[in-house]
């Protein structure tokens, strides 16, 4: 009896490891040369993160079907997996086996660097030259040491989503372009009894993104680029970012109890506050158009009052005021995936598929010529700002990889909670780089 109970306890404990072991089965994906393209029937397994029923998921199903119709030898098997599960557990475990999915979601940055070092990914530099040229600098995020290992299908910069009605009521005539103006706006919004900025610090990253923006303003582009590759954070600009953040938090721009507020998906989240007219601003990426709508009780009203402006500049700082933080979603092919995988990748970023993607409203497309699919004014202004940005820095937690990224986010959240210091963020990042 007692033995059995303990066994149950142990079983629960080690499900994690058990999954790993169970996941190890054979079946080598055989590589095919390009001459054989579309000769033999192949099945491509495709893992993406559009797991919730909606336009995103439906669209990928349609794309897979269309591709199979164009190339009858290719069958595509889709598995839609929630982002955290996909990125943190399913994909790493599958890549350790000899039978990973052929085409799967890739976010670029430090994680991709590690995957390349472990020889997981197909080098597609030669095959996708035209596509990369068409996409432009955004494609660089899916490069490691100058070689292309994946292609994006969505990319956008971050900015501040705001409620135009509230701004008008508070007497703010133009969106802030500097942090001084932003602070003014915060004061004015408080005067009309409105939460100036909604913050989903409960999920950590929405809070951490404020620090990233201060770092982007405090650090030179060179420093950030170097830090992403070497994981060295000695430049004093990283401490400066934390100090600026601390000053900003000191102005109390956020709703109370933000440390437990989730970022998106439910009415109590930061998204919910903005979408339902309970807060005036939110710092968020281009996907926010879709997630706000999910949280809105009245999507029509949201459409009318929602606006967007780029993250303000800081006067006299070392960073490039026209640089922006951004990120995107892409797909990579596994090292031993059939050659058809690369063809499918190319198909995914072709203008007509990208235009259809833009029409779903789930994010901004990357291919030139797909812009026509965008109708929302807020998304249009993001597109303009992205085109006008001198440099797009990938989200720092993605750029630095999960280990440093996670430690960095935790330490930033501690500043928000009032028990962390700017120096501790940097020392946590340094310690994690050694872990």
């Amino acid at each position: 009896m007692a033995m059995k109970r303990r066994a149950g306890a142990v079983l629960a404990l080690f499900v994690t490891s058990a999954l790993l072991v169970a996941g190890c089965n054979g079946g080598d994906g055989e590589a095919q040369s390009e001459q054989e393209l579309y000769k033999n029937p192949v099945t491509l397994t495709w893992w993406h993160n559009a797991s919730q029923d909606g336009p995103g998921k439906t669209y990928w199903e349609k794309v897979a079907k269309d591709f199979s119709a164009l190339h009858p030898t290719v069958t595509i098997q889709i598995e839609a997996i929630e982002t955290n599960q996909l990125q943190r557990t399913r994909l790493p475990a599958a890549l350790l086996t000899s039978d990973p999915p052929d085409i799967f979601q890739a976010w670029g940055g430090g994680e991709m660097r590690e995957q390349v070092e472990a020889d997981y990914l197909k080098d597609i530099t030669e095959q996708v030259k035209t596509e990369v040229e068409n996409i432009g600098s955004a494609a660089e995020i899916w490069q490691v040491d100058g070689k292309q290992y994946g292609l994006p299908f969505r990319m956008g910069i971050e900015g501040i989503w705001y409620n135009k009605d509230m701004f008008a009521r508070a007497g703010i005539t133009t969106p802030p372009t500097t942090f001084d103006e932003l602070n003014d706006a915060v004061t004015k919004l408080k005067a009309i009894n409105v939460v100036p900025i909604a913050l989903g610090a409960g999920d950590k990253w929405p809070a951490a993104h404020w620090w990233y923006n201060f770092a982007l303003r405090a650090c030179s582009v060179e420093t950030l680029k170097k830090a992403s590759v070497d994981l060295v954070f000695d430049d004093p600009c990283f401490v400066k970012a934390g100090e600026d953040l601390k000053t900003f938090i000191g102005t109390n721009p956020f709703q109370p109890n933000f440390i437990a507020t989730p970022g998106q998906n439910d009415p109590t989240s930061a998204n919910g506050l903005v979408a339902n007219g309970k807060a005036a601003m939110e710092l968020m990426g281009d996907w926010n158009r879709g997630t706000l709508e999910t949280a809105a009780e009245d999507p029509e009203a949201l459409k009318k009052f929602l606006g967007w402006f780029p993250v303000p500049a800081i006067a006299g700082s070392a960073g490039d005021p026209k640089a922006a933080l951004g990120g995107g979603d892409g797909f990579s092919c596994a090292k031993n995936a059939p050659a058809e995988c690369v063809e499918f990748l190319k198909y995914l970023v072709s203008p007509e598929v990208q235009k259809g993607y833009a029409e779903t409203g789930t994010g901004l497309p990357v291919t030139k010529g797909a812009e026509a699919g965008i109708t929302d004014p807020a998304l249009k202004s993001i597109l303009e700002a992205t085109a006008g940005a001198t440099y797009v820095q990938l989200w720092l937690d993605t750029a630095f990889g999960s280990t440093v990224g996670n430690a960095m986010n935790d330490a930033i959240v501690a500043i928000f909670a009032g028990n962390g210091t700017p120096e501790q963020v940097v020392s946590a990042m340094k310690a994690a780089a050694k872990k």
Partner: protein, 329 residues
């Protein structure tokens, strides 16, 4: 005949009056059959146990000795560094403290409540079945459902705050899920709400085993209801209470889902609500420190194991003596 109907006993004597040779061959056949039965009946369980318990445990210990981020095979052997790192991390120590609060808190809060309710529900009254059902409902609900429900109820300015204000207890309102000093007690409350029903049902089952003759005899001797409970029922309920304590303790050490769902990731990572299990997943998967995560898993296992063995040795021993040592041969 009886012997053939008694496969588990096995060693019972063959019918008398047979020649010795015949007798020994029957005995051999019985022994063989006994072994076939043992092998046949236990093999599936043993295979599952080895595959999904022992082998993964071995892997966990092995991986915990490496600096490994889950990319490529583990190659960088670091000995016990991961274990040292864990005990140097203040957040892990917070998690240990939180587990201790939950273990002790669950026992001293749930125990008396469960006992009182079980004694009440053991008496006959109208609607008893309905009460029993209600009390057990939270335990039957999925952990994730409970977590989301309480998260929404306890959110700032939510239902709980409004109710407290309504009944004039507005002064008690806290940032239940956001105040870093309060959140672990909120978690303890939710866990108590969720699991007290299990303790009650267990104790009710124990109470139904208390022979009616004994309470009747006590009543005839002039004992009051209270005296009967105190001197007859409670002592006989001892084994059930100890089993419940054991299950509660092990469950509290490994608690994961309710905490994971109810408290925000930020609050966990600040150490306010983290438990060893949530810390393991946060670090193992989210910070992608697979070797380290395995080390934390092993620590969690060792702590649970030691707790289980000590409990077994000192408190559970007389209850399970027969079950473990066996009565045969």
């Amino acid at each position: 005949m009886t012997s053939t109907l008694n496969p588990a006993g096995g060693a019972s004597a063959p019918p008398a009056g047979l020649p010795p040779a015949r007798r020994s061959s029957i005995r051999a056949a019985q022994t063989r059959r006994k072994w076939y039965e043992i092998i046949g009946l236990t093999t599936p369980a043993v295979i599952v146990y080895v595959m999904f318990v022992l082998v993964p445990m071995g892997f966990a210990v092995y991986y915990s000795l490496f600096r490994w981020r889950g990319v490529g095979p583990p190659t960088e052997y670091v000995g016990f560094d991961n274990y040292v790192l864990a005990f140097q991390d203040p957040i892990f120590l917070d998690a240990l403290r939180n587990n201790a609060i939950i273990v002790v808190g669950s026992l001293i809060v749930q125990g008396p409540i469960a006992l009182a309710v079980a004694l009440l529900l053991n008496r006959r009254f109208r609607g008893r079945a309905v009460f029993r059902l209600l009390v057990f409902v939270p335990y039957v609900l999925a952990e994730v459902t409970v977590g989301i429900m309480w998260k929404l109820l306890l959110t700032g300015g939510g239902t709980v705050d409004a109710l407290l204000k309504e009944i004039g207890l507005g002064g008690l309102v806290q940032a239940w899920l956001a105040d870093l000093d309060v959140v672990i007690w909120t978690m303890l409350f939710v866990l108590t709400w969720k699991y007290v029903g299990f303790a009650i049902i267990l104790l009710l089952a124990g109470l139904s085993n208390v022979p009616h003759e004994l309470t009747e005899a006590a009543a005839i001797d002039g004992a009051s209801w209270w005296q009967t409970q105190r001197h007859v029922t409670l002592p006989l309920l001892g084994p059930t209470i100890r089993i419940w304590m054991f299950l509660s303790m092990i469950g509290s050490l490994q608690v994961f889902d309710v905490i994971w769902v109810t408290s925000a990731p930020a609050v966990r990572s600040l150490g306010a609500s983290a438990t060893m299990a949530t810390y393991m997943v946060d670090n193992g998967f989210f910070a992608r420190l697979w070797g380290y995560g395995n080390a934390v898993a092993v620590i969690l296992f060792v702590i649970s194991f030691i707790a289980a063995v000590l409990f077994q040795r000192f408190l559970l021993r007389r209850d399970v003596e027969g079950a473990i040592t066996g009565r045969t041969n």
